[in-house]
Assembly symmetry: C2
Homo-oligomer: 318 residues x 2
């Protein structure tokens, strides 16, 4: 009673309806003519009626065959377009990738990733959300983004996550500051400096706090949210700050100097986070691959930044 056709059978049926010749239709379907004959017979059994009037000389659709042929043609077109759509998505010719990232990554790394992605997969729509780690995780939780690049946040165990890179910290100060000539800095070097703090909610602050526990820094009274503000304050000699390497692009001004902080424990882990047990969509997976491929470059860039740090954080050509 239940219908159990295969698409192959429907296609073979339509081919025979078109060329009205078993031998030729069989050849066109890459089947022996005998197999083709059996296939049509089975189809007719399933349909419960003859679909072709045929003898050894002529083959023509019956009225029922005409009816089914119309449906079959429509169905095949529909099936094929549906699968074409699916293939377009798996081949990243269509689709959408939404990413949440920390402001630092959203401002520098992700635009470069997106640019490469747009070049390679022009049909894929790209979306970016920038926010602190809790906001990033919330977007992942809601399924509004495919994945997030963020620091560890609350309830991280709800997600699948893995370490993408370990972001080191740099001391940034005015080039006229006493520390500006150093090639490397330790936490104790900050003793007596006026430190510009980040808001307590930021992951940077949360990483710095323990490391600064026993360093007698002077509190500048500034506790800002945006890196650009930090840069402005430091550039005007109102204090120094300690920022992750990934944010250094904000500090590439002639009057500023960035010095790597040599405290192995002081690193900000950047995680790749996605919903637990959810496979990435093909374009999202492709983007992740691109991000990972760009990571060595970034590491090299970090090395370059480190070696440049002795002089000044000069703006990179772009």
């Amino acid at each position: 009673m239940a219908i159990n056709l295969s698409i192959r059978v429907l296609r073979a049926f339509v081919v025979l309806a078109d060329c009205r010749h078993f031998t030729r239709a069989a050849a066109r379907c890459h089947l022996s003519q005998s197999a083709f004959s059996q296939l049509i017979r089975r189809l007719e059994e399933e349909a419960g009626t003859a679909l072709f009037n045929r003898n050894t000389r002529n083959v023509a659709l019956t009225a029922e065959g005409e009816l089914l042929a119309d449906s079959a043609r429509r169905l095949l077109a529909d099936i094929e377009s549906s699968f074409a759509e699916l293939k377009d998505r798996t081949a990243c010719r269509k689709g959408r990738v939404a990413v949440a990232a920390l402001p630092s990554l959203a401002a520098d790394t992700m635009p470069r990733v997106f640019a490469a992605c747009r070049r390679r997969f022009p049909g894929v729509a790209l979306e970016l959300f920038d926010g602190l780690s809790d906001r990033c995780l919330e977007l992942v939780r809601q399924g509004r983004v495919d994945f997030a690049l963020t620091a560890p946040g609350s309830r991280l165990a709800e997600f699948d996550s893995r370490l993408l890179l370990s972001d080191s910290f740099h001391l940034v100060c005015h080039r006229d500051h006493p520390l500006a000539s150093k090639r490397r800095a330790g936490m104790q070097d900050l003793a007596g400096c006026e430190l510009i703090h980040f808001a307590r909610t930021s992951s940077v602050r949360q990483h710095l706090e323990p490391a600064l526990a026993d360093v007698p820094v002077l509190h500048s009274g500034f506790e800002v949210e945006h890196l650009a503000t930090v840069a402005g304050l430091v550039a005007n000699g109102l204090g120094v700050s300690v920022v992750p390497a990934l944010t250094l692009f904000q500090f590439r001004r002639p009057e500023l100097v960035a010095i790597p902080v040599d405290v192995p424990a002081l690193v900000r882990p950047i995680l790749f986070v996605q919903r637990k047990g959810i496979a990435l969509s093909p374009p999202a997976a492709a983007m992740v691959k691109m991000i990972e491929a760009m990571l060595p470059v970034r590491r090299a860039a970090r090395q370059r930044a480190r070696s440049e740090a002795g002089r000044a954080a000069t703006p990179r050509g772009r």
Copy 2:
């Protein structure tokens, strides 16, 4: 590359998409859960992408799965309605039967067949064409009718035909006519009678001609086309006629008498004719079965007519 799904697989996919539980979906598809799992895996291979995010605890569609599920639901509905339409036709719930028949059959036999057919297959549209045998055959040739009930005509070899019944002849005359009291008649009884002829094109005339070759009948001067005219002429004592049993319904008047003609060679074959090598549509085949089932009834009716013939051809109720 080419798609080779079966409907079963699509249906299984939709079932799983609906109930998001392999074991239950497998049961609903009457498959072992293992077979079901493999089936989904094969589908995903064919689709080229994961369709479900799943672990041992949760099953949910991926974005690609959602896409395919939408298509699949639509496709299944389409396929099922197409096949339902086909089943309706094979089950004679829908369809059309067109028949060509000689005027005698079209006026009496076919209406009764059609009435029975309409009762039994109310969804089937019925069409009737009445015409002489060449016209009937032409309609069959053009495919405008499914079959014809007719006398042998020109180029009969072009068709598939078989004898449906042999129509005997009756002498019809006014009840005051000298022959009216006979129970049976031979050709020689017509000697000296005024005979009302049919048009030369009619099959009746063509059958009578040879049998009358050596009978010295008087020619009435009438040569008409319609049986009702013959009946009118005979009823008014303007002559006698010899007509096939199937036309006797035209002569059921109190003033008329019908007497069977006992000439074995004088029969008019009524053929079932269809296009060569063309299968009948299901409702047409059903109608043919009904016609054949009604034939014994007709034979019985003919017997009844014969036994009534001694008295008068009294009108049957209706």
